[in-house]
Amino acid sequence: MLRNLYRTTSLAARQSNIHYRTLRLASTGSKGKVLTTDRINPHIRNAEYAVRGALPIRAEALSKELQTNKSLGFDRVVFCNIGNPQQLQQKPITFFRQVASLCDNPELLKAENREDLLKLYPQDAIDRAELLLKHIGSVGAYSHSQGLPHIRENIAKFLERRDGFPANPEHIYLTQGASSGVQNVLQMLTENEKSGIMIPIPQYPLYSATLSLINATPVPYYLKEEQDWGLSVAELKKSVDESRAKGVDVRALAIINPGNPTGQCLTEGNMREIVDFCKAENLVLLADEVYQTNIYKPEQRPFHSFKKVLRSMGEEYNDVELFSFHSTSKGMIGECGRRGGYLECVNIDEGVLQQLYKVASISLCPNVHGQIMTDLMTNPPVEGDASYELYNKEVNGIYESLRRRATKLASCFNGLENVTCNDAEGAMYLFPRVRIPNKAIEAAKEAGVAADAFYALKMLEATGVCVIPGSGFGQEPNTWHFRSTFLPEEHLFDQFCSNIEKFHKEFMNEYRD
């Protein structure tokens, strides 16, 4: 309360200052910039997004330097800061690219080109492109602001196959990556600065950054590292009660499943508890499920969608409001640069849906190629199709390779002195805990950075490997982590692991207490 009072008073003072200064400057001509960092949107100033923050910026600079300076101690920068598989040479899915390229150049589909075309493209890719273009017209035209009706219908069918429950195409929005859908929903939910959204700690900092930008209140709940990053409803309850007692209007719960950076997959039982919790506490559930096909322990921890769990709990749960998010950036397809994805609205108020439409309409439409890729991802070749064999081979190949690398890297991290690392049940990341010696913590303080940032920076300068410090995701106080993808190419993986081992040994030797 006192803090708000201070903020209001100083705001008034600043405003009258600005007013005076503006008049004065207007009359005397100019000195200095109109737009300076103290005059910009303060929420932007406060927001942080470590995934492309200080560490990757430094990594880019080193990458450039490598072009001329060969004595850095490593011959390439390995970007493990971001889930960007195709940047690390993961191949795109052939069928998808074939269809996309035909959609871009419909001249190829003309009768006079068919003979040549069949030497380059399988029939089912041709058929799919023709079908899509029939519904799209041109990929260069703005589509419906929610995304093409045909594609939304296909996604609804996918959801029905996946979950066993129907989906309404009118309640589906195609989005530019899941990120843009998440941002629109968080913004919709934010009535004023007291609006609270529960976010996991650790979390993917799209959430914390966006809440900063829209000036909403993040309400953290902690995942339990010692229990495989488990989520307890007791912890959720503690968090929401505490915040509400402070006057925060907590209205939604964001869950990332599989987790990012933590990679855990929820059990069905856990999910039912969470749905119950949302019902009891009047919370909108936000289910970020972009890693739903990156599942590495499918027997013990298969993926369940929150939509399925919610519907399976029966009619009395029709009052639980849910937004589910998916993306073309992850899985085995890794089409990050395309910016494709969708969100599904379940049990959302009709009036709110109309407002969501309005928000989408101002940006006109999500890019059509992203929509096409979302269609392909949710409706890939099936058994019997000409492209099925290759599709299946490619997807399985990538899946098995991800699984192998996840295990290898977890094992590497667990072998490091003073480091423990939970397995990745899903997603693309490992989030090892490093017990950083006091000497290093001191050195970090002196350098003005967090201890894990200090460690990560040293790793980068020594090995060229760019990871993100745990502080970028949030963590229990006085614990230190970093997030690394396990995406580096498999044939270089052993070298990658041994470089990290070597660095870590040297670091520990240098800073041992």
Partner: protein, 492 residues
């Protein structure tokens, strides 16, 4: 088992009352009520319903390829090769060279090399460096002054760049941004969303929608005296919905105004190649005007461009860029941070932006076709603009300024008393009332002037002149007949 998902009776956590109030307040007429109704009518026709018209004609939005405008062949060839790099394998060369010209193949190879691994990877958050360089080179050639790729951001359409810049400019609810009346409602909607203060300045219809620098200065002073922290001036040139182009002298005055009144200039130039009077009013970029102004290294400028307009009309791809001039370094860092949260603009849009600014040159195998397509589209746009302008000016009570640029006409309608009274009865604005009836009678969907704002007591509507040329006469006749009937009805 049919599960009952009807949950009307159950109270919601998230309602229209407790949601973000700015979202609730904001309006975007271009895809608003009338456009939604137009889609319903389109669906009805598809179901076989009998209506007074055979097709719905969407003249509400500058979406040329939806109205059968053909894409530029070379551009689509290049992007389709970038999508499917397998086609560039040596063993496929014989067949691929039957289907693609050699310059398209070479360009795709170069672009893939520039992009790096794959178009499927996230790029640099500002956009692929080499593609930004091609934009910088284009700007330098267009204006005769250098451009810095590090000051360039590739964006998902110009819209997303505009929104980011307006966001960074909004310090608090007193932050004021000057916007033209009439304006493209991306601006008004975004300012509402941000809780910023729009500061309107009026364009003068009788003098071809001209802007008066002294009037803008008055507006600024007045707003500041009331406590608004006016910090930026939005100019849309060529104008939207109004289509006017600024002359070079006027632009120097605008720059001087920005310098004297301490304003950041935001120049929305997405229609820069839709110029229909190139001798009298050629396009001059604000960047060029800035470089020729005495305060060329002081005045802060952000210029926006897009692949959605011009002759290429690649709206659905969502590509474009903005260029920053003389912005504070700390502010540039914050802009980068904002862009990084969304990771990157879609790579296909980035590639199309680069293609737009580096088209085939004379001597290239694809040049002839490219030139033919561009010229054909340009001449056709010019013809349709003139045709529709004549039709509007011919209608009783209607006057219409010519479109010097862009894709729209913004005729002024003078409605009879009886019509005004009827509109009031229905609780509608007169121009919305008129446009509703036009849609129901002809299938033509335009946007009421109130969606763009206009001088008090005047009424307008915005129509594109994009319907295909072979249907244009029918389209014009439909409008003529409707207007005649309307006037007959309400003049009685």
């Amino acid at each position: 088992m049919t599960l009952n998902y009807d949950n009307e009776a159950l109270p919601k956590v998230l309602t229209v009352e407790n949601m973000n109030p700015h979202i609730r307040e904001m309006e975007y007429a271009v895809r608003g009520r009338l456009a939604i109704r137009a889609e319903e009518l389109r669906d009805a026709l598809a179901q076989g319903e009998k209506l007074p018209f055979k097709t719905v004609v969407s003249c509400n939005i500058g979406n040329p390829q939806q109205l059968n405008q053909k894409p530029i062949t070379f551009f689509r060839q290049v992007v389709s090769l970038c999508e499917n790099p397998d086609l560039l394998a040596p063993e496929k060369e014989a067949i691929v060279s039957q289907l693609y010209p050699i310059d398209a193949i070479e360009r795709a190879r170069q672009i893939l090399k520039d992009v790096g691994a794959s178009i499927g990877a996230y790029s640099h958050s500002q956009g692929v460096p080499a593609l930004r360089k091609s934009v910088a080179d284009f700007i330098a050639e267009r204006d005769g002054h250098p451009a810095d790729p590090n000051s360039i951001y590739l964006t998902q359409g110009a819209s997303s760049g505009v929104q980011n810049i307006l966001s960074i400019l909004t310090q608090n609810e007193k932050s004021g941004i000057l916007i033209p009346i009439p304006q493209y409602p991306l601006y008004s909607a975004t300012l509402t969303l941000l809780g910023a203060t729009p500061v309107p300045y009026y364009l003068d219809e009788e003098t071809g929608w001209s802007l008066d620098v002294e009037e803008i200065r008055q507006t600024v002073r007045e707003a500041r005296s009331k406590g608004t922290d006016v910090r930026a001036l939005v100019i849309i040139n060529p104008g939207n919905p109004t289509g006017q182009c600024l002359d070079a002298l006027n632009m120097q005055d605008v720059l001087t105004l920005c310098h004297q009144e301490r304003l950041v200039l935001l120049a929305d130039e997405v229609y820069q190649t839709n110029i229909y009077e190139p001798e009298q009013r050629p396009f001059v970029s604000f960047k060029k005007a800035l470089k020729e102004h005495p305060q060329h290294d002081t005045i802060e400028l952000v210029s926006f461009h897009s692949i959605s307009k011009g002759m290429i009309g690649e709206c659905g791809r969502r590509g474009g860029y903005f260029e920053c001039c003389n912005l504070d370094k700390g502010v540039m860092d914050q802009l980068y941070k904002m862009a990084s949260v969304s990771l990157c603009p879609n790579v296909s849009g980035q590639i199309m932006t680069s293609l737009m600014v580096t088209p085939p040159k004379q001597g290239d195998p694809s040049y002839e076709l490219y030139h033919k397509e561009m010229t054909g589209l340009y001449e056709s746009l010019r013809r349709r603009s003139k045709k529709l302008e004549a039709v509007f000016n011919d209608l009783e009570g209607v006057t219409c300024q010519p479109a010097m640029g862009s894709m729209y006409l913004f005729p002024r309608i003078r409605l009879p008393e009886k019509a005004l009274a009827r509109a009031a009865e229905l609780n509608q604005k007169p121009d919305a009332f008129y446009c509703d009836l036009m849609l129901e009678a002809t299938g033509v969907c335009v946007v009421p002037g109130s969606g763009f704002a206009q001088k008090d007591g005047t009424w307008h509507f915005r129509s594109t002149f994009l319907p295909p040329e072979e249907l244009f006469d029918d389209f014009c006749n439909g409008i003529r007949k409707f207007h005649q009937d309307f006037m007959n009805e309400y003049n009685k």
